[in-house]
Symmetry: C2
Subunit: 512 residues, 2 copies
Amino acid sequence: MQLHGTSLISGVPIAASADRFAAESPFRPEPLPPCFYEATETDVHRALSAAEAARTALDGAGSKGRAGLLERIAVELESLGAPLLERAHLETGLPLERLASERNRTTGQLRLLAALLREERWRDLRVDSALPGRQPLPRPELRRTLLPIGPVAVFGASNFPFAYSVAGGDTASALAAGCPVVVKAHPAHPGTSEMSGVAILRALQKSSLPAGAFALLQGRSHALGEALVRHPLLQAVGFTGSLRGGRALFDVANSRATPIPVFAEMGSLNPVFLLPGALRSRAPELAKGLTQSVTQGGGQFCTKPGLLFGIASPEFDAFQACLVEAMRASQPATLLHSGILRAYECGAARAASHAGVQILAESALPAYPALTQGRPLLLGTDAASYLAEQPLREENFGPSSLLVKAPDMAALLQIAARLDGQLTATVHGADADAGAVGALFSLLEQKAGRLIYNGYPTGVEVCAAMHHGGPYPASTDSRFTAVGTAAIQRWLRPVCFQNFGTLLSARLSAGL
Amino acid sequence: MQLHGTSLISGVPIAASADRFAAESPFRPEPLPPCFYEATETDVHRALSAAEAARTALDGAGSKGRAGLLERIAVELESLGAPLLERAHLETGLPLERLASERNRTTGQLRLLAALLREERWRDLRVDSALPGRQPLPRPELRRTLLPIGPVAVFGASNFPFAYSVAGGDTASALAAGCPVVVKAHPAHPGTSEMSGVAILRALQKSSLPAGAFALLQGRSHALGEALVRHPLLQAVGFTGSLRGGRALFDVANSRATPIPVFAEMGSLNPVFLLPGALRSRAPELAKGLTQSVTQGGGQFCTKPGLLFGIASPEFDAFQACLVEAMRASQPATLLHSGILRAYECGAARAASHAGVQILAESALPAYPALTQGRPLLLGTDAASYLAEQPLREENFGPSSLLVKAPDMAALLQIAARLDGQLTATVHGADADAGAVGALFSLLEQKAGRLIYNGYPTGVEVCAAMHHGGPYPASTDSRFTAVGTAAIQRWLRPVCFQNFGTLLSARLSAGL
């Protein structure tokens, strides 16, 4: 597919702006062709007007029509084949194999949502039949269903150019709900975004649905994103990215004359608690598993375990030795772009500069600056320093983690009680740790959206039972998830139909 | 029950403040005894600390334990008997009969939520079993359930001293979810609030649950409400009242370092569209039904129909004549307090002063100022004036409505398309109106939380299918309801348990 560097509005490439930018590749010194036109406020207005106009058709297509659309998007993404993966590889530096599996996850979640739609149970239909003879007053017939909330803006993440981007979970769940989508493409992978956007437009066309149901806006400026969130026709926002970016959009949305809901998933430290019995029985296995979880994908996962806690003991020291060895042997990874690498290195240096913090291990293998490589890093500290220094409790995006040695179980519980909101929290234990496991989880369940026992937080399963969200700052609304079939609930609002009788049949056949 | 004029924190009456106030009665010139102590910021902190401490016990009581609590609250409210109704009558001016039925609705919704809890389906339990042999990666076992979000603040409304107040739907649904509740009592009925609060405390005691699970704060100041919403231990807010009050608390909640969800239900104009066929076939019945819906409870319902739309025609004129007659014959009603009466009269005078607005009818019966009585009022205007004047599209709390004569169906559709968010929207039609009914509802379903065909918006059924909410400004989040069993969803957050196996059994037996 030839890239045109354009936004896509009403199915038409838009190349009207004087302001242009190019994608960078972490593998190359020069920018990647072509140049991309920065979308304007006029483009925002056009995209949302087209989205508003497409509401009725998308809703009217019904569950089956939209299931077909999602399945066609999956097919169109697949039919882009290797060139899509290669462009994503150039733009993000992520390995082709990982990108292929992420693309498969993305088509898989489109098909999972299509299956959900075909079942119809997602409507949570509730019926209270009429009781005309009830005293003192009759009850009218009441039927409640869920309807699409309206046009949704999606802000994709840089670290998942498919699964959390143009055709990712937010777009898929919003289209499933019957909401038109305007994507603000992440400027770190505009070519991948354009290709994915074209795939969605092809699927809309093959589904005989209006092109206005999807738009893609290219751009780097915060002003563009803000203009999108401020637009009066917009009804909801999905965002994946940094705390700063998510909070900024959340604040804009809430300062509108008519506020709209924002679901921003903003990352997490993903604390892991390593209990004595677990360290005694399987230190080498844990060291290997954690190193892999910290370093895979260059540590650029929102579920990367960034905090590891244990209790001072001989088994802790033995585990630390294993972990140091595994981290030293781990490979430097190409990070998404030079800005990410700089931020990673600054964050690591800042953390290491705190009194009481030591560098325990760094990858012993060479990191190539020309390949934008970041070096896996393990820092160590004690519980008191950890609790005293707020910056140690902030996410550092990249392949690093902080191992915290606590004096005793009471200190571990104190740490758990003082955690900020998290996407995940993990405990590794053995039979001997049973009491401590229970005590920790009873604190952690108030802090995280997903609790993991004897497992690793990376590798987010896309399924009905997944919850990918959590108390702030992990997300802006702990009641919703960004991943799994329940993600559709962010874009649906209940409507109660009173005394409709057979009138509702028309609505049912039109859209339900 | 003797009133002490106190807040209730940890089960203890609090009378520490120098600042005091008394309740007014719309029937009496002098304030009602006793004086009430204004709660302080220290009280807010104490109440929330006690609430936080009560979380585990309330959650640990499980569905059955909390069902028992709700049922005991209903019994305790009932056992307060006539004195509760009499105090509410004095404080609100609402008739005893209406108050008795509202009290029954309140105990009914407590018992309905108890029944929901006993069923367990409310947890929306989702299970994805482990697939250890899956390629390329095994799937861990994932189970998702809903857990309480934490301490909830409830701001009750003045117009429903039971159903939307201390032991009303917000408190009942939050306690059902397992969330401790801190109620900011409405200063228009502090005595009713104290009595209801004592009933809840008695039920907590009889359920062997900590008194900290419920607190009552008395006060008139906005600063008190803001301090409550700002408190870091607070996790969510339920509010029923004015747009200005709800938006202020929404803004405070969203400006916190850690924002929390606010569900504010802020009223509505509840437009009613009267189609030609309906007017031809049943003008007298419609005039009677609408007059009753506009004037019952002094028009002090959030679902009062404040806007009536029809198309200029002989049948419209005939209907208008019937409506004028019915409104003239309707009784003036004692309003909640003198402030409400003043605001009602000012709002009516302001609306009537617009060019193009006429007073069509006013109750012909005497309204007694000493009884704080407001006079039912019907204003009339044309579609152009209605669309030109924003103040005509704002709620006037009290027994008035505005009849708008549109030139044709196109104008009605334009009006529907330009409506703000509403709690309800109603269409009256007959067989001859079928096309117009469909066209109107397809617009109205984007504007309102409940659509009514050939019925009246007042009389909100408490049931599974009810949705009492709607697009802003009807509520701050159209995805949730304040009434019915789905109201519990505001106070629940999903948590996913990964690889817990039998570990989760302990959690299940403890709290689920």
